[in-house]
């Protein structure tokens, strides 16, 4: 399986994601410059966290115009797996691949700590290695992770089982319905504020993030087998 990790000016979790794939899966993973417009050789895309373009204007608002995002949209439309973590989630919303918006945290401060998430749907390419309803420990680090959307969108997200993760303990940022991560309608594009790549060995404080990576590999293998 081949992963692409696009690097925007100001990305800072790019190498953490690359190391995450290498260390957990040992699969091929490549950094991809934001001016690249060809992702044909890749099976999955990880949009990393950071402060693309300094978060100027609005988090993710400028990165969406990078040439690489056109090919990310194409990859998503082809059914390839796309995951946006933190700033990557913000970029996916700005691009329109995911609904809603991420506002400033309700307490107005940046927040970095471990959060407890509940896995709300394990029938997806990103969560098939988790148990339904299980709680996992994954850290957050953001100033703008306060998920919001209009009531109809929320109903759709709930009705279609698009909410994969909710904050199970304290809501760290004021997110609507405790939402920590959602997919698109097709289930192949995930956006989440917590950082699974920061929880892959015990000395990091938790290894619960590993199964997000193994889930993707599992889904890809099944898909290969079916094809």
């Amino acid at each position: 399986m081949r992963f692409a990790v696009p690097i925007f000016p100001g990305s800072n979790c790019d190498w953490d994601c690359i190391h995450g794939v290498e260390d957990v899966l040992g699969e091929e993973v490549k950094p991809v410059w934001h001016q690249t417009s060809d992702l044909d050789g890749f099976d999955a895309v990880i949009l990393p966290g950071g402060f693309s373009y300094g978060d100027y204007l609005r988090a993710g608002a400028l990165a969406r115009y990078s040439p690489v995002m056109e090919s990310v949209v194409n990859a998503a439309n082809e059914g390839k797996l796309v995951i946006g973590i933190c700033n990557g989630f913000q970029i996916l919303q700005e691009t329109g691949l995911l609904p809603g918006a991420l506002m400033q945290n309700n307490h107005l401060q940046f927040r970095c700590n471990f959060t407890t998430l509940r896995v709300e749907n394990n029938q997806t390419p990103f969560t098939n290695q988790y148990k339904l309803g299980e709680t996992i420990e994954i850290p957050i680090a953001h100033g703008q992770g306060n998920f919001t959307c209009d009531p109809n969108t929320l109903m759709e997200l709930q009705a279609n089982n698009q909410i994969l993760f909710r904050y199970a303990g304290t809501n760290p940022n004021g997110s609507l319905d405790q939402i920590a991560g959602i997919t698109n309608r097709n289930g192949n594009v995930l956006g989440m504020m917590p950082h699974p790549e920061r929880a892959i060995v015990d000395w990091m404080g938790s290894a619960d993030g590993t199964r997000l990576f193994t889930s993707m590999l599992q889904a890809w293998k099944e898909n290969q087998g079916a094809a």
Binding site: G10, D16, G54, Q109, F110, A141
Partner: protein
């Protein structure tokens, strides 16, 4: 070559329209406005062989400021040990460098940004972080961690809450955006810092030996390349501002505070590291304090060459900037490079790809002339060595302050002996100085780069080095109260405690970077504090084999004539050989025995308890015996490396009682302390005696460990046991002092600072 550069007398230079003429400057003593003294002005005239222009006086004034020249501290700084078998680079470059084996080295430095923070806390603190990061990557290193050491007045004051909140947010803003984890530090509140907060920022980086860079200009004819943000009118005369006392007019100097852009610095960082990896650079230096002036002059002086710069080529943020403004601007996120002729396009290519400006602004010349051109005119011509090597040096008068003699008679124990030991526990636990700093560190991204193995809240932070078994432990420490009461003891303690913190995490201390925050050296009592503190620090650095590889001096920390407590801050880095040696302060397992290493004395002068109970500090601080400290640290490190230590925690503010509580809270374990000793209860539990560490060991290793420490000459006291039951129970000589649930103690500890900050929003 525009000008003959081998001549020895400076050429006449043009006076810029609307600027004072050289004669005006002399007759009206205008140089005084830039902090230049009459005798210094005379020296400048001597060096030039003529009267200096406005720009030239400005250049001398920043180069000869305390911040750049150490003119008041240099004779004292020479006492520090600065070399050692592992030291690859001592003081004098952007940051010091120490070998850590496998062809790798660690680079680190601490620096103050106190005055900017006092007048504009968010940008002042943010740019302090930005500056120290540039110091580290200008050495060729990849920054891997940030730490800080902060001092504020007490949180009861609304202005202090504003300074504290905005300074922390500024530090968070810069570090989080650039993606370097802020893994540790300390925050202390004391009335002494009310008008003059301290923000000391430290950065740690890692490089391969061959990647080590220097700030040097070499090769006549080679281009000098400016990279990064444009030059604007911000931060003009920042270095001079940093070398004065604060007063009511300081607020007007807000324009001397720089404005940071961490996004541009991220691009600059990546571009510079790429150029280092591609071996493109001959010299590289950050434009930090004194901006373009300091970086270019120091590079030329170090290379023994002259240089010529054309200011018309410098990228500028606004039109109509004068040479004076361009030369003295401290706009952030700029770097100066020297490369071989013919490689300019390679630099441009890298910078273009990262979306950074770059411009050839000058050339290396033969001789020693520092020549600046502006709109076709020569506007500065200075022998460059006189800027860097000939700064005046002052040996100030030192006088023992009256308080020091008076305090000898004070019995600190006597002041607190009637305090109820149980009430003392809750009082100390909830004090801002002891309580959890989660309010602060949860605003810092401390996990980015996925290398942080010990997060904030333990004695030292630990960052692993990917691809190896090694890890780096790091800590910042300083106790201004102890130093005020006895600068020599306080200096020793600062070094010893930071080394102890690093050892507690399983590391061998490698070296020190220091930030000396003091009042005005022109006051004999302050100079005495500085001198004695350096004596104490030097002695401890010798004893613990931790050379000082760089640092920063911040003098004139005064508000309206009142000095801060003398506050040397130590940044210590240690090497952990194997990840399995990483140890924290957290109790691990019920049944483990709790041992107290080191003897306790009646030492309450300068203690947190004394301050809380009497509202001030007096008497003498704890005494530090360097030999005992060294013995303790060596034995503890050996025990950790043998895998015998479950947890280790330095005893600091609040003494044994607080160390017990902290280890229990970190480990989410209960503990039962039942200790019998001859000391009075208050002293046994709250003395801040040095060279003590509380460890926990597996019950089956208990006897062996007691024997081990005794054999090594370390006093051992078995004081208790880790328990399943989530209760903190402390008894002394059979008397119950504390018996409370872990949950309620944790709540008090975790929420103390938040409560004080919340109170602010209701005012």
């Amino acid at each position: 070559m525009l000008h003959e550069s081998t001549q020895t007398v400076a050429q006449a230079v043009k006076t810029i329209a609307n600027e004072p003429t050289p004669e005006n400057i002399r007759d009206q003593e205008l140089y005084r406005n830039m902090g230049v003294l009459p005798e210094e002005y005379d020296q400048i005239c001597g060096h030039l062989g003529r009267l200096p222009s406005w720009t030239e006086v400005g250049i001398y004034s920043v180069m000869w400021s305390e911040h750049c020249s150490y003119k008041n501290s240099k004779p004292l700084l020479r006492k520090f040990p600065t070399s050692g078998p592992r030291v690859l680079q001592g003081p004098g470059e952007g940051a010091g460098v120490i070998d850590i084996g496998d062809n790798q080295a660690v680079v680190f430095k601490i620096e103050s940004h106190n005055h900017p923070t006092a007048v504009e806390p968010f940008q002042g603190a943010a740019t302090g972080v930005g500056g120290i990061i540039r110091d580290v990557f200008s050495m060729g290193a990849r920054p891997v961690a940030l730490l800080n050491s902060l001092r504020f007045g007490e949180l009861e004051s609304p202005h202090v809450r504003y300074l504290f909140d905005h300074a922390v947010a500024g530090i968070a803003h810069y570090g989080n955006c650039i993606g370097i984890p802020t893994v540790g530090g300390e925050v202390v509140f004391d009335p002494s810092y009310e008008g003059n907060p301290l923000v000391n920022a430290m950065c740690v980086g890692v490089l391969e030996h061959h990647e080590l860079q220097k700030g040097i200009a070499t090769g006549v004819g080679n281009p000098i390349i400016y990279v990064g943000a444009s030059t604007g009118r911000d931060g003009i005369h920042g270095a001079t501002f940093a070398s004065e006392e604060l007063n009511e007019e300081s607020e007007e100097k807000r324009s001397a505070v720089q404005v940071g852009d961490p996004f541009v610095e991220k691009l600059l960082l990546e571009a510079c590291i790429e150029m280092v990896k591609k071996e493109m650079l001959l010299g590289i230096q950050d434009m930090g304090a004194a901006g373009l002036t300091c970086s270019s002059a120091e590079m030329a002086a170090k290379g023994g060459v002259g240089l010529e710069m054309n200011l018309d080529l410098v990228p500028q943020r606004e039109s109509g900037m004068t040479p004076y403004e361009i030369m003295l601007s401290e706009s952030q996120e700029r770097m100066l490079l020297v490369v071989e002729t013919g490689r300019e396009h390679e630099v441009k290519e890298v910078c273009d790809r990262w979306g950074l400006q770059s411009a050839v602004v000058g050339r290396v010349t033969e001789g020693n002339r520092y020549q600046i051109l502006h709109q076709g005119d020569l506007i500065t011509d200075i022998p460059v060595n006189t800027l860097v090597d000939d700064a005046p040096i002052y040996e100030r008068e030192a006088r023992e302050p009256a308080y020091y003699t008076e305090f000898e008679k004070v019995d600190a124990y006597d002041q607190v002996k009637e305090v109820d030991p149980q009430a003392a526990f809750y009082k100390v636990l909830g004090s801002s100085n002891v309580a959890s700093k989660r309010y602060v560190y949860q605003q810092y991204d401390h996990m980015v780069r996925t290398s942080t193995a010990v997060r904030p809240g333990s004695d030292a932070a630990v960052v692993v080095i990917r691809g190896t078994e090694k890890a780096l432990a790091m800590s910042t420490d300083g106790n201004g109260r102890y130093v005020y009461l006895d600068p020599e003891q306080g200096g020793r303690i600062a070094v010893a405690e930071s080394a102890r913190n690093v050892v507690c995490s399983g590391a061998e201390p490698l070296g020190v970077t220091d930030c000396l925050n003091f009042g005005s050296p022109e006051k004999p009592e302050v100079y005495w504090q500085l001198s004695k503190a350096i004596d104490g620090m030097s002695e401890a650095c010798h004893a613990l084999s931790t050379p000082v590889i760089g640092g920063n001096v911040s003098l004139y920390n005064e508000t309206n004539g009142q000095s801060i407590f003398p506050t040397p801050v130590i940044g210590m880095v240690g090497l952990i050989e194997k990840r399995e040696h990483i140890t924290t302060q957290a109790f691990q397992q019920a049944g483990d025995s709790v041992l107290l290493l080191g003897d306790t004395k009646v030492e309450l002068g300068g203690s947190e308890l004394q301050h809380l109970m009497t509202g001030s500090i007096s008497g003498r601080p704890p005494v530090l015996d360097c030999k005992a400290e060294q013995t303790l640290q060596a034995a503890l490190l050996d025990a950790i490396r043998q895998g015998m230590i479950q947890s280790a925690h330095d005893l600091a503010e609040g003494g044994l009682a607080l160390a017990v509580a902290e280890s229990a809270m970190s480990g989410k374990c209960g503990v039962r302390i039942d200790w019998k000793n001859e000391l009075p209860t208050i002293a046994a539990l709250y003395s801040e005696t040095q060279s003590r560490v509380m460890v926990s060991v597996r019950s089956e290793d208990r006897a062996e460990m007691i024997a081990f420490f005794q054999e090594r000459g370390v006093p051992v006291h078995e004081v208790g046991v880790v328990t399943e039951e989530p209760t903190i129970a402390i008894s002394y000589n059979g008397q119950v002092v504390v018996h409370d649930s872990l949950a309620s103690i944790t709540q008090l500890y975790e929420e103390a600072i938040l409560c004080k900050m919340k109170a602010s929003s209701m005012n």
